[in-house]
C-alpha cells in the first residue's frame, strides 16, 4: 500500500513539474506557432542556475531562487524571441531549427560551466520532515511541488480567462490577423508570452531540483515528455497541458517502478491512442 501511495505522489510531483514545462510550450505554440525546442534547455538552465544560487549565495532559499531564476530565464527567452525568432517570422521551419540550435548551445554551455556531475539541490530544511497523514508518511516536498503546479495552473487560468491581456492572447490564438486588425499589439504579446513560458520553465527547473537535481541531459529527458504531454493534451490548451502532464506523470513513474526496462515504450501507448482517435489532442481545437 505504501508503495502505491508513494509512487502515486511521485507521479503527481512529476506531473506538476511537467505542467510547468509543458504549459509554457503549449502557450507559445498556440499563439506563435513556434515549436520551441529550447524549452527543455530552459528547464535545465533553470535547474543549474537555481542550484548554484542556493549553494553559493547566502540568504537565497529555494523560493527566492525559483523566482530569481524564473526572471533570468524569462529575460533570456525574451532576448531569443526579439533578436532571433523575430527575424524568421515568415519561416516556421527556420524558427524550429534555430530553437534546436539554441538548445544545443545552452546544453553544451551548461556542461562546460558546471561539468558532467549532477548538482543536487538541497530540499528546504522545513520541508524535509515527512508529512504524516492517515497513518502514512508522505515526502512533504513533493506535496508542495504539486501545490505549486496547481497554483501556477490557477494563476495561468486566471491570467488567460480573467484579464485583458489574457483576452488579447486568446484572440491572437484564435485569429491572429483579425486580432492585429483591431489593434491588439500582437508583436508585444509574442514577446510577453515567450518570456512567460520560458520563465515558468526556468522556475520549474529550480523546483524540480530537489527531486531530480541538475545534470547534463536533463533537457533531453524532459523535452520529449513535454512534447508527448502537448501532443496528448492538444497544443495551445492549458487544460490539455494540465491533464496531459498528470497522465504522463503517472504512466512514466509507474512504468519506471514496475517495468524499468520498458518505461519509455509505455509512453507510446497513450500517444498512439490519442493520435489515432483525436489527432488534435484531448482538449485541442487547432491541429498541430
Amino acid at each position: 500500500m505504501q508503495f502505491w501511495i508513494i509512487q502515486g505522489l511521485n507521479s503527481l510531483a512529476l506531473g506538476g513539474l511537467l505542467f510547468l514545462l509543458a504549459s509554457g510550450f503549449s502557450l507559445i505554440f498556440g499563439l506563435m506557432r513556434i515549436a520551441n525546442l529550447t524549452h527543455g534547455a530552459f528547464f535545465m538552465l533553470g535547474a543549474y542556475l537555481g542550484a548554484n544560487a542556493i549553494r553559493s549565495i547566502d540568504g537565497v532559499n529555494l523560493w527566492t531562487a525559483a523566482v530569481g531564476t524564473g526572471l533570468l530565464v524569462a529575460a533570456a527567452g525574451g532576448l531569443l524571441e526579439r533578436l532571433v525568432l523575430r527575424q524568421l517570422s515568415t519561416n516556421p521551419l527556420g524558427q524550429v531549427l534555430v530553437t534546436l540550435g539554441m538548445s544545443f548551445i545552452i546544453a553544451d554551455a551548461c556542461l562546460m560551466i558546471w561539468g558532467g556531475d549532477p548538482i543536487p539541490v538541497p530540499t528546504p530544511a522545513d520541508l524535509r520532515k515527512p508529512l504524516l497523514l492517515f497513518g502514512f508518511a508522505f515526502p512533504t516536498y513533493r506535496v508542495v511541488v504539486v501545490g505549486c503546479a496547481i497554483v501556477a495552473a490557477i494563476a495561468l487560468y486566471g491570467l488567460l480567462e480573467r484579464t485583458r491581456i489574457g483576452a488579447m492572447i486568446r484572440a491572437g490564438v484564435d485569429d491572429m490577423d483579425m486580432a492585429r486588425a483591431i489593434g491588439i499589439p500582437v508583436s508585444a504579446l509574442f514577446t510577453a508570452v515567450f518570456c512567460l513560458g520560458a520563465g515558468i520553465a526556468g522556475a520549474g527547473g529550480v523546483l524540480g531540483g530537489p527531486i531530480m537535481s541538475a545534470y547534463p541531459g536533463l533537457d533531453a529527458d524532459m523535452l520529449p515528455l513535454a512534447l508527448i504531454v502537448v501532443i496528448l493534451g492538444g497544443v495551445g490548451s492549458l487544460l490539455g497541458a494540465f491533464v496531459g502532464s498528470f497522465i504522463i506523470g503517472f504512466i512514466y513513474t509507474f512504468g519506471i517502478a514496475l517495468l524499468p526496462d520498458l518505461a519509455y515504450v509505455i509512453l507510446f501507448l497513450p500517444m498512439i491512442v490519442v493520435i489515432a482517435f483525436r489527432p488534435q489532442g484531448l482538449f485541442g481545437r487547432i491541429g498541430a
Binding site: L88, P92, L93, L100, F104, I105, A220, D261, V265
Partner: protein, 311 residues
C-alpha cells in the same frame, strides 16, 4: 557536360583510395554513409515537405537490429542485414501511421517524440541493448568472400551502395510518383481533389525513406563495428536535418554536399575544440539566418546569374 563531369567525379571517387591515406579513406567512407542518410531524409524534407526530427531512429534501429540478431540470434551478417532492413521498414510503417496524422510542426514534434522514446529504450533496456555500454564485437560482412576489413575495401563497398542509392533515389524523385509527392508538398488539397491519396503517397515515401535510413544504419554499424544509444539521439537526427538544409533540401546533390561539409567539420573541429554540440548549434543558427536556401541552390543561383540568367 553535366554527365561528363559526373562520370569524371565518379572515376575520381573510385581511384581515391589508391593515392589517399587511411585517414582520408575513412573520412570519405563516413561522408558517403552520412550522405545516404541525408539523402533518405531529404525525400521527406525536400520532396515531401515533411520535416522529420526523428530520422536517426531508422539508422539506429537498423544498426541495433543487425547487431542484436548477429550476437544474440547467431544469424550471419547478410541474413541479419535483410532482417534489420525489413524490421526497420515495418517500424517505419508504424511510425508513419502515427506521425502522418499531422503535418508541419505537428509531424516534427511527433517524429521527435517517437525517436526520443526509442533513444530512451536503447539506454534503459539493458538486457537487449547493453545500455550505455553499447554493443561491441560486431563484424563486417564479406560479400563474395571479399573481406571488407581494410579501410579501402570498405570504402569501395560503401561507394557501390552510395551510387546505387543515389541512382535509385534519383529515379524515385523523377518518377510519376515523385511528381505526385512534390504535388502533395505544394498543394496537398488540390492533389486530393485530383483523386490522389495524399496520405498513402506520404506513407509510402516515409517507408521508402526508412528503407534507405536503414541501409545507412547498416553501413554505419559495419563501419564502427560498435553501436551506442547516441546514434539514436536528437543530435544524430539534427545532424542529418542540418546536412539536408545546409546543402539544399529538395535537390539531389544538396544533402550529399551538406553531409560532406558536416562530417569534415566534425572531424576537423573535434581536433581543436571539444564542444561539438555547441558548434553544431552555431552552425544551425548560421545556416538558418544566413544561408536559408542551402549551399547548392545558393551556388546555382550565383552561377546562373554569371551566365546571364540562363538556368
Amino acid at each position: 557536360m553535366k554527365r561528363i563531369s559526373g562520370v569524371v567525379f565518379l572515376a575520381l571517387l573510385c581511384v581515391f583510395p589508391l593515392f589517399a591515406g587511411d585517414f582520408y579513406i575513412n573520412l570519405a567512407s563516413q561522408i558517403l554513409i552520412a550522405a545516404i542518410f541525408a539523402m533518405s531524409l531529404n525525400l521527406l524534407v525536400g520532396y515531401g515537405g515533411l520535416t522529420s526530427l526523428g530520422h536517426a531512429s531508422f539508422l539506429g534501429f537498423a544498426a541495433y537490429a543487425s547487431a542484436w540478431s548477429t550476437t544474440h540470434m547467431g544469424l550471419g551478417v547478410g541474413t541479419a542485414a535483410v532482417v534489420a532492413i525489413l524490421a526497420t521498414m515495418v517500424m517505419a510503417g508504424l511510425f508513419g501511421m502515427i506521425a502522418l496524422r499531422a503535418t508541419g510542426l505537428g509531424f516534427l514534434m511527433i517524429t521527435l517524440a517517437l525517436s526520443q522514446v526509442l533513444w530512451g529504450l536503447a539506454y534503459r533496456w539493458v538486457a537487449v541493448t547493453n545500455g550505455d555500454n553499447g554493443m561491441s564485437g560486431l563484424v563486417r560482412p564479406a560479400p563474395f568472400g571479399i573481406s571488407l576489413d581494410s579501410g579501402a575495401n570498405y570504402y569501395w563497398f560503401t561507394l557501390v551502395v552510395f551510387v546505387v542509392s543515389y541512382w535509385l533515389m534519383a529515379i524515385f524523385v523523377s518518377s510519376a510518383f515523385g511528381s505526385a509527392l512534390r504535388g502533395t508538398r505544394d498543394q496537398a488539397r488540390r492533389m486530393s481533389a485530383l483523386g490522389h491519396d495524399v496520405w498513402m503517397i506520404r506513407w509510402i515515401t516515409f517507408i521508402y525513406a526508412g528503407f534507405w535510413g536503414a541501409v545507412s544504419g547498416l553501413l554505419y554499424v559495419y563501419y564502427t563495428k560498435y553501436i551506442h544509444p547516441s546514434s539514436l539521439s536528437i543530435t544524430a537526427s539534427a545532424e542529418g536535418l542540418l546536412s539536408v538544409i545546409a546543402g539544399g533540401s529538395g535537390t539531389l546533390g544538396g544533402p550529399v554536399v551538406g553531409a560532406a561539409l558536416l562530417i569534415i567539420l566534425k572531424n576537423y573541429a573535434s581536433a581543436y575544440v571539444e564542444r561539438w554540440n555547441m558548434l553544431l548549434g552555431f552552425v544551425f543558427l548560421f545556416i538558418v539566418l544566413v544561408l536559408p536556401e542551402g549551399i547548392v541552390p545558393g551556388l546555382k543561383r550565383i552561377f546562373s546569374r554569371r551566365q546571364g540568367g540562363q538556368s
